[in-house]
C-alpha cells in the first residue's frame, strides 16, 4: 500500500492533465467522417459536442437529452427525431418500420413525454420490391397503433440504385410532457438507484446474427417495443423521485451510464451479477468477443430513482409486459466524478469506459 499512497509531484501533475482533458468538451478534429462517428462512443460525442452543439447554440440542445422541450402557451411539449438505416431491413423480432416508430416513441417516453404524433419520411432505393415496401408500411402502421401515436405528416424520396440499402426511414415525434415527471440528466444524486428494464444486448446481437457474417445459430430476437408503458408505470410509482431515464440504444447501457455520469458529475457503481442477460445473448457475446453492455437495445431503459422510491419503482416496472426481468443494477456515488465502475461477478472492480469506436470483435 505504501507505494500507492505516495504519488510523486510529477505523477500528480500528469493526473491533473488527464483530468482537465477529460472534463473538456470533446473537439471535432477529424478530416473526414468514418464509421466510428456513428457508433455512439467518443467519436460520436466529438461530432455532437464539437461541431453540432456549438453551431446551434441552443440551451435545450445542450442538455443532450433524448428529446428537446418546447413550451407553447404554458403547455410543455417534447420533440425528437431519428433516422433508421438498419441492414437487413427485416430481422428476427422486428423490422426497420417497427424500429422507426418505437425508437422515436421511446426517445419521447424517456424524456417523460407521452407520445402524441409522428412524421414519417421514406428514402427509397430504386428497385426496392413493392412487397417489401408494403410490408414495412404495414409494420409502421401496426407499431404506431400499438404505441398509440398517429402519423400526421410525411415525405417520400427515391434515390438511385446502390444508395440507401433498400430504404432509410426518418421519423420525428412530438409528445406532451407528463405532469408527474421532473426529469433532468443533471439531477442525479449520490445514493440514487439505477434500474434497468430487462435483459440487454438483444437487438444488436439479433442484427449481427441476421447479417449472416457469422456462422452462428441462436434464437435471439430484437427487443423493439414501445417503452411508454414502462415509463408510465415508473412515473406512477416514483413521480418526482424519478430523476432521469435513458433509452439504452446505440452504444448500449455502458454508453448511457457514461453520458449521465459526465452530465451529473457523479460516479456510478454497477454490479455485474445483477445485470440481466439472456443466455443465448451471453453465449453469442462470449463467442464473438463482444461485451453485451455496449450492444444496442431497442426496448430497454435505464432509470435513476431516489433510494426511498426504488423498491416501489422496481416492482411497478416488473409488472409491465416485457419488463419482467427488470433489476436494480447499481447506484450513484460521488467519487470519482464522471466515471462508471463495475463490481465484476468475479469480485474485482473495473472501469466501464466509453466506447472509442465500434464494438469490434477481438481476435485473441
Amino acid at each position: 500500500v505504501a507505494d500507492q499512497a505516495t504519488v510523486s509531484d510529477r505523477e500528480q501533475r500528469i493526473l491533473r492533465i488527464i483530468e482537465t482533458a477529460r472534463g473538456k468538451r470533446a473537439k471535432f478534429r477529424d478530416e473526414q467522417i468514418n464509421m466510428a462517428h456513428g457508433a455512439g462512443g467518443k467519436a460520436t460525442q466529438s461530432l455532437i459536442e464539437g461541431l453540432l452543439a456549438p453551431a446551434f447554440e441552443s440551451e435545450t440542445l445542450n442538455e443532450m437529452a433524448d428529446a428537446g422541450a418546447v413550451k407553447v402557451d404554458g403547455v410543455e411539449l417534447a420533440m425528437t427525431t431519428d433516422s433508421y438505416v438498419v441492414k437487413p431491413l427485416r430481422f428476427p423480432g422486428g423490422s426497420i418500420g417497427e424500429l422507426a416508430v418505437n425508437g422515436t416513441v421511446n426517445d419521447l417516453s424517456v424524456a417523460g413525454a407521452r407520445p402524441l404524433a409522428l412524421s414519417l419520411s421514406l428514402v427509397l432505393e430504386e428497385g426496392l420490391p413493392a412487397d417489401e415496401l408494403r410490408a414495412e408500411v404495414e409494420a409502421i402502421a401496426q407499431a404506431a397503433r400499438a404505441a398509440g401515436v398517429e402519423i400526421i405528416a410525411g415525405d417520400t424520396k427515391v434515390v438511385e440504385r446502390g444508395h440507401a440499402d433498400g430504404m432509410y426511414v426518418c421519423t420525428t415525434g412530438i409528445g406532451r410532457r407528463d405532469p408527474r415527471a421532473s426529469l433532468s440528466p443533471s439531477a442525479l444524486r449520490p445514493g440514487d438507484r439505477i434500474l434497468l428494464s430487462g435483459g440487454i444486448g438483444e437487438h444488436g446481437t439479433a442484427i449481427m446474427l441476421a447479417r449472416g457474417e457469422f456462422e452462428l445459430d441462436a434464437s435471439i430476437e430484437s427487443d423493439t417495443r414501445s417503452l411508454w408503458p414502462a415509463v408510465d408505470a415508473l412515473l406512477e410509482a416514483a413521480g418526482h423521485d424519478l430523476r432521469c431515464m435513458r433509452d439504452a440504444t446505440r452504444g448500449g447501457v455502458a454508453s448511457v451510464l457514461n453520458e449521465l455520469a459526465r452530465a451529473s458529475s457523479v460516479a456510478m457503481i454497477v454490479r455485474e451479477a445483477e445485470i440481466p442477460v439472456a443466455p443465448p445473448v451471453a453465449g453469442a457475446a462470449e463467442i464473438l468477443g463482444i461485451d453485451p453492455l455496449y450492444v444496442a437495445n431497442e426496448g430497454k431503459l435505464v432509470a435513476f430513482v431516489a433510494p426511498e422510491a426504488a423498491a416501489q419503482a422496481l416492482e411497478a416496472l416488473r409488472s409491465v409486459s416485457g419488463c419482467e426481468q427488470a433489476a436494480e443494477i447499481g447506484e450513484v456515488r460521488t467519487e470519482p466524478p464522471g466515471m462508471v465502475l463495475v463490481q465484476t461477478s468475479f469480485g474485482g472492480k473495473r472501469v466501464m469506459d466509453q466506447l472509442v469506436g465500434d464494438p469490434l470483435p477481438r481476435i485473441c
Binding site: A2, E11, I18, Q32, A282, T344, G348, L360, I363, C364
Partner: protein, 371 residues
C-alpha cells in the same frame, strides 16, 4: 455458459487471492508480466488486478498482435487497399491502428474497399464471390492465428483461387520475449505464459526463460481464475526459490503443442530475417512471410508495396514501458502528445495497452479506497 462459469467463480477467486497474499513478503515489490494481450483483456474485464495485494504489479507484455504492428506496415496495407479493384480484408481491431497518415478506418472512409472479417476463410469466401476483384487478406497475429491463415492459403492454392492473396504480418512470440529478457534494465519476477499460443507451440519453447534467464514461467488459461492461479504459482516458485516452466492450462495445452498446426505453418511460412515491432524496434527472425511455394499468393509480390519504414516517434518510450523500466506516466509524451484518441505508441493504441489502461483507469486506482 457451462464449462466456463466454473472458472469465474468469485468464491474460488477469493481463496486463490488469500493464497497469493500468504505468498508475498511484505515490503517486497513483485512484477509479473502477462505476455499475451488476451490475458490483459481478461485482467481488465474481470478486475483481476483488484484482487491482488498492492505490492504485486502486473506488467502488460508485447503480446497484443494488433499493437505491435509498426506504422510503416499499416501504411503498406493502406497502399494495397487503395489499388483499383482491390477488396482489402482484415480483423476488426486492426482497423483503428494508426499508420503515419491515418488508419485503415480512415482509408475506408476515403473510398478504399476495406472489409472486416472474422477469419481468413471469410476473406477467401469473399474472393470466390467476387472473381473479378482482387481480394487481399491482411494477416496478423502470433502462432495463435497463423495456422488458420496457413490452412486458408493451402485451400486457396488447392482450389486454384487466383484472385486471393495474403499480406503476411504474422509474428512469433519467442524472439520478442528474448529481446525483452536481454535488456539489462528489465525488472520482472516472472511471466504468465501465453495460453493460446502455447496450444500451438506447446510449452517447450519457453524452457529457455528459466534456463537462461532465471525467471519462472506459468502458461495460463484466459479465465480470471486461471490467471489468479498462475500468479499464485509464479509467486510460489519465487517463494521456494524454484524456477521452471509450469503449465496451469493443462486442460488445453499439451507440452509438445499441436504438431499438425506446426507442420502446416512450416509448409506455408518462412521466417523473415527481421521484422519491426512497434515500440521494440527490429527483432531478428520474429516475423513470418509466405514461403517460396506460396509466393504466388503473396500480396507483397503481387502489388507494389511502399515498404517505407516509419520510425516510432522519438519521444515515445513504449519500449521502456513494455520492459517495466518506467511507468506510463513517466514517459515524456504520456497524457499530452499521446492520448487514447490520438495515440503515438503501441501502449496507447489498444485499450489494453499499459498506457491506455493507466490513462483510463490509473486515476481510479488511486481513489480505490474512496470508492
Amino acid at each position: 455458459v457451462k464449462f466456463v462459469d466454473e472458472f469465474r467463480d468469485a468464491e474460488l477467486g477469493q481463496v486463490v487471492a488469500r493464497e497469493i497474499l500468504s505468498l508475498v513478503e511484505p515490503g517486497r515489490h513483485y512484477k509479473v508480466m502477462e505476455v499475451c494481450g488476451g490475458h490483459t483483456h481478461s485482467i481488465y474485464k474481470y478486475g483481476v488486478d483488484d484482487l491482488l495485494p498492492a505490492n504485486v504489479e502486473l506488467v502488460h507484455g508485447p503480446g497484443c498482435p494488433v499493437c505491435v504492428i509498426p506504422m510503416g506496415r499499416v501504411d503498406d496495407g493502406i497502399a494495397v487497399a487503395h489499388n483499383d479493384g482491390v477488396i482489402f480484408t482484415c480483423f476488426g481491431d486492426m482497423m483503428r491502428v494508426p499508420g503515419s497518415n491515418g488508419s485503415l478506418l480512415d482509408a475506408k472512409a476515403a473510398g478504399a474497399d476495406i472489409r472486416m472479417v472474422y477469419s481468413p476463410l471469410d476473406a477467401l469466401r469473399i474472393a470466390k464471390q467476387n472473381p473479378e476483384r482482387e481480394v487481399v487478406f491482411f494477416a496478423i497475429g502470433f502462432e495463435t492465428t497463423a495456422p488458420s491463415t496457413a490452412l486458408t492459403l493451402k485451400r486457396a492454392k488447392m482450389e486454384g483461387v487466383k484472385n486471393f492473396s495474403c499480406m503476411c504480418s504474422h509474428v512469433t512470440i519467442v524472439p520478442p520475449l528474448r529481446a525483452l529478457l536481454e535488456s539489462p534494465d528489465l525488472r520482472l519476477d516472472g511471466f504468465i505464459g501465453p495460453g493460446h499460443v502455447s496450444t500451438v507451440v506447446g510449452a517447450r519453447p519457453f524452457e529457455f526463460i528459466p534456463a537462461d534467464y532465471d525467471k519462472p514461467v506459468v502458461i495460463a488459461g484466459f479465465e480470471p481464475l486461471d490467471i489468479l492461479q498462475a500468479i499464485a504459482m509464479i509467486l510460489r516458485q519465487v517463494d521456494e526459490d524454484r524456477c521452471e516452466v509450469e503449465n496451469q492450462y493443462k486442460r488445453v495445452v499439451p507440452y509438445e503443442g499441436n504438431l499438425r498446426a506446426l507442420e502446416v505453418m512450416a509448409e506455408v511460412f518462412e521466417l523473415r530475417p527481421h521484422f519491426e515491432w512497434r515500440g521494440l524496434g527490429f527483432i531478428s527472425h520474429s516475423g513470418l512471410k509466405l514461403s517460396g511455394a506460396y509466393a504466388d499468393l503473396d500480396a507483397e509480390l503481387r502489388f507494389s508495396v511502399p515498404g517505407v519504414r516509419v520510425a516510432d516517434p522519438k519521444a515515445c518510450q513504449c519500449g521502456e514501458v513494455l520492459k517495466g523500466v518506467i511507468k506510463p506516466w513517466e514517459c515524456k509524451v504520456f497524457g499530452t502528445a499521446c492520448t487514447p484518441e490520438r495515440p503515438i505508441g503501441t501502449c496507447m493504441v489498444s485499450s489494453e495497452g499499459a498506457c491506455a489502461a493507466y490513462y483510463n483507469y490509473g486515476r481510479f486506482a488511486r481513489e480505490r479506497e474512496v470508492v
